[in-house]
Symmetry: C2
Subunit: 108 residues, 2 copies
DNA sequence: GTGCATACTTGCCGATAGGTGGGTATGCCG
DNA sequence: CGGCATACCCACCTATCGGCAAGTATGCAC
């Protein structure tokens, strides 16, 4: 739980798992709502936790890409059922969220 | 992710899944580090999300128990692989955490 | 010289998550 | 009468999380 704690980490894992080694800029574009700071920060955490590997090609302009370590792959696997669950029950869950949202806006 | 977002929710799900209908006090004792406020709050959220069912026996002294809904059960199932992953890779992961902890305490 | 692209870094700031310490109602037990 | 047990509720406080804006180093193209 701690390891996937972070608003965008599951998404990062997902994209890197899908696309193989992924450049920083690709991630930025893929996950449009994330800010630079947070994306980098979460990448560093994932790296520190041994889930992704950062490869710096030492070129100019800078080129860096991120890939999954074996550990990262296994985590991605373990997340699949949860992702499936989310997709399957999207309807029921998002309905509840919608209700809660209207309730909140009416209340505040 | 949103639905399991909460420091203790996976644990709650786990205990309720294991033990069937569980009284509030049992949970409190099972998850010793949680505070009343947060436990109740997370239970209410799980209930609002349709994952657990609250049964109030209207007795005095109060008796209430919590059980999983079908949706809750399916979520619990989807969490199993993740839990397994955690158990299997506990060693590698907690080692990283340990290192980070000493690093932090030395730095601050 | 000016601008552009890349992959970051830094400072500030508001929202929120979770913890603490109190309080509630009810009935039984001594 | 005082104390205990249960399942909560409330006010307050702090740490952290994540977003925004601006800045950095380097080389190339114009």
């Amino acid at each position: 739980m701690r390891v996937v704690a972070g608003k965008w980490k599951p998404l990062i894992l997902y994209f890197v798992a899908q696309g193989g080694p992924t450049r920083y800029g690709e991630l930025r574009r893929a996950i449009r709502d994330v800010s630079d700071k947070v994306l980098i920060q979460q990448l560093k955490e994932l790296e520190a936790d041994g889930l992704v590997k950062r490869t710096d090609y030492k070129e100019v302009p800078p080129r860096v890409d991120y890939s999954l370590t074996p550990l990262g792959h296994s985590l991605a696997q373990a997340l699949v059922p949860l992702c499936t669950w989310g997709t399957e029950h999207m309807a029921e869950v998002s309905q509840v969220f919608a209700e809660r949202a209207t309730w909140n806006t009416r209340r505040r």
